[in-house]
């Protein structure tokens, strides 16, 4: 058992953090040049042939940086449905994608191409009209598609379970990244802001909620990395736990991120409530994540069903598939 990152994965995180700090709004092409769009694309298709664990490292950093772009919709949602030639285009940075599996489609303003779930398959949607809707998190859009025709058949609907696990795990670890940044702001504020002649972090009414925020975040991160590892195993068919791990991680991490942001806003006092401070943007992303795909309550209902309603052996938790479109 080894639950640590490799030196290469640590280096990838450092590279990502430094790059995103210097380039807060990178283009799709720039991400491709860094190799990020082809992390899990096979080497013969121009990718790095790595796993979802490396992608999770990037999702965490992209969440931290509040990255605005079609990385989530392409890599977490669409990629498993794409045939090799189209994956190669993604790895090269020539195209980005999104996947329409519910009424609200993410990154519709930025993604080049649209895949859509229809019947027993996933198809490219051609000639559709896109309407981008206003979202409270302006860094990640939602929209609706109208009309259009199914084009090339991309994959069987069987890939939807993998897509669901990937996207839930990606959202979970992204939530951890943004929550970490919110917590760092709150800690720094509690160390330096003085009231009644002392830094407010000495007061346990301030420090204990921060300790709890840290605790929830560490738990969320453990679940998210577990889910990421399970998803990375999925290709090898050696781990059946990915659906339940991803559901558990997203349910917990989304709520934790919302709570951490709320604690951070409270600790900041008035300034935390302003448009000027970055906290509200982190908070809105956390709320976006909580609402997308399936809420924590919905995911817990699925976990409860697998725990309590499974027939046969009582430990059937790991075998129970979780449906993609529930709550969508």
């Amino acid at each position: 058992m080894d639950f640590t990152f490799t030196p290469e994965q640590d280096a990838l995180r450092e590279q990502a953090r430094a790059f995103l700090a210097a380039n807060p709004e990178p283009s799709w092409k720039e991400l491709a040049e860094l190799g990020w769009t082809g992390v899990s694309v096979a080497e013969e298709d121009g990718g790095a042939g790595l796993t979802f664990v490396e992608e999770a490292v990037l999702f965490e950093e992209l969440g931290r940086a509040l990255y605005r772009g079609p990385y989530f919709s392409t890599v977490a949602l669409a990629l498993p449905a794409l045939p090799g030639d189209l994956r190669a285009e993604v790895a090269a940075g020539d195209t980005s994608w999104t996947l329409a599996f519910g009424p609200l489609v993410p990154d519709l303003d930025l993604a080049d191409r649209i895949a859509i779930v229809g019947g027993d398959g996933i198809y490219e949607l051609e000639g559709a009209e896109r309407e981008v809707l206003a979202t409270s998190d302006v860094t990640r859009s939602l929209g609706v598609v109208r009309g259009g025709d199914p084009g090339r058949r991309l994959a069987d609907a069987g890939v939807l379970e993998e897509i669901r696990s990937r996207s839930l795990a990606a959202l979970a670890i992204e939530a951890c990244g943004l929550a970490r940044r919110a917590l760092e702001y709150a800690i720094e504020h509690a160390q330096t802001r003085e009231q009644f002649g002392r830094p407010i972090g000495v007061y346990q009414a301030v420090s204990h909620p921060l300790a709890d925020a840290y605790t929830r975040l560490e738990l969320a991160r453990s679940l998210s990395l577990w889910a990421a590892w399970c998803v990375a195993q999925e290709g090898a068919q050696s781990d059946q736990q990915a659906p339940i791990a991803a559901a558990a991680a997203k349910a917990f991490a989304a709520e934790a991120a919302v709570q951490v942001c709320e604690t951070a806003i409270q600790v900041h006092g008035g300034i935390g409530f302003t448009w000027e401070h970055v906290l509200h943007r982190l908070y809105k992303r956390a709320l976006w994540i909580e609402s997308f795909a399936a809420s924590s309550t919905t995911l817990r209902a699925e976990v409860a069903a697998s725990l309590l309603d499974a027939t046969g052996s009582g430990s059937g938790v790991s075998q129970t598939p979780v449906s993609l479109t529930q709550g969508g």
């Binding site: 560490e218 590892w229 725990l307």
Partner: protein, 386 residues
């Protein structure tokens, strides 16, 4: 990153599982633990068997009777023991606290004299730290140790001491310099619990059992060679003890929580659960898994770097509050039967007992308030509140 057992770890786990299956009697399985229940000879025999099989003191060096195994083996051992609902080795304080402290600060003579009988369960230890006036604020210790003709004379009172009524020895934190205050002037002693002037009085707790005790010391003579560390250096020695108290427990606690959650799910399947209760059961299952993987992260860091990561400090805090919620959820699932006393309640009163006992979890071995201070100050780097 690979969350599976290595081939070698899997072999150890397999071997351990079959050993437990062969050696754990039905009477001992599901033993609820707690010092009050450790009195019978069968618990000593069980502990002795663990030692003979090499499972006591897994991480202790072989020269002191241990197995010299890795922390990962220790984690697997604690997990499998808890999953099998096997009672722990009776030497809880000796194995987890006194032994590691003696290994860190003791003389060769002390190591040779005291360590092996801890493993074989011939000698049980207790801890004399807390006092009526020194609980979370341990530096307020007042029990005195006066130096006199080559020995110490100890006077004072200790409290909340598990196993004191069974113990051969006590690790005792005393004030040797009457002029000193706080962390200075403290001295750490090994005290023979059968010495004249030592009196143990059991304290009955909220469950009706007596797991812990008061200890009174009236002019107890302690030989000079029973000093652990330096005169006046007791605080540093005590910190070693507390580090071990909180450090090695995580896996046993998580696995025990796993058993509780499994039982709550079984209870819900037996007696039904409404949608809100189902939501809470799922929540507890998820948090139990979160604790499990947080422990794994801490263990991996410990194995790789030799230093525990900050994740480790939250394990006991999370477990204690989770165990309180889970046991209370079980009572809710029992409906009106929850009010029945242990004699008449379903499942032999298991849940009534567990729920009441769980209230101690956020107090013993560091209150949740103290643990939150530790996280805030040492992990987050917030200014000290005192």
């Amino acid at each position: 990153m690979d969350l599976r057992d290595t081939a070698e770890e899997a072999a150890f786990r397999r071997e351990l599982r079959s050993w437990i299956e062969e050696n754990l009697s039905e009477e001992l399985q599901g033993h609820r633990g707690g010092a009050a229940r450790f009195e019978g000879p069968e618990m000593r025999a069980w502990s002795r068997a663990l030692h003979d099989a090499g499972y006591a003191g897994l991480t202790w060096p072989t020269e002191y009777g241990g197995t010299g195994a890795s922390y990962t083996h220790q984690a697997i051992f604690l997990e499998e023991m808890a999953r099998a609902e096997a009672p722990p080795h009776v030497g809880v304080i000796g194995l987890g606290m006194a032994g590691p402290t003696i290994m860190a600060h003791g003389s060769e003579e002390q190591k040779t004299r005291y360590l092996e009988p801890i493993l074989s369960a011939e000698e049980i230890w207790c801890q004399g730290f807390s006092e009526p006036g020194a609980g979370s604020d341990l530096a307020g210790v007042r029990t005195s140790a006066r130096q006199e003709n080559g020995h110490f004379v100890v006077d004072g009172q200790k409290v909340w001491s598990s196993f004191a009524h069974l113990a051969s020895f006590c690790i005792l934190l005393t004030r040797s310099d009457p002029e000193s205050t706080r962390h200075a002037g403290l001295t750490y002693l090994i005290v023979d619990m059968h010495a004249p002037g030592v009196e143990v009085r059991p304290l009955t707790q909220i469950t009706g059992e007596a797991e812990f005790n008061e200890i009174f010391f009236d002019k107890v003579r302690v030989p000079a060679e029973n000093l652990l560390g330096d005169i006046g250096g007791g605080w540093q020695v005590a910190m070693t003890t507390l580090l071990h108290e909180r450090g090695t427990l995580g896996f046993a606690l998580q696995a025990a929580l796993e058993v509780q959650v499994r039982k709550v799910a079984a209870l819900a399947r037996d007696r039904g659960a409404d949608p809100l209760q189902r939501d809470r059961i799922a929540s507890e299952w998820i948090e139990m898994q979160a604790l499990r993987f947080t422990n794994y992260r801490a263990l991996s860091k410990l194995v790789k770097t030799g230093m525990p990561g900050p994740e480790g400090s939250i394990s006991k805090l999370v477990w204690s509050e989770a165990n309180q919620r889970v046991t209370k959820l079980a009572l809710e699932l029992l409906g009106p039967d929850a009010a029945l006393g242990e004699e008449n309640a379903p499942y032999g009163g298991y849940w009534q007992h567990q729920q009441l006992r769980s209230r101690g979890n956020t107090i013993e071995a560091g209150t949740s308030e103290v643990l939150r201070n530790i996280v805030a100050e040492r992990v987050l780097g917030l200014p000290k509140s005192r």
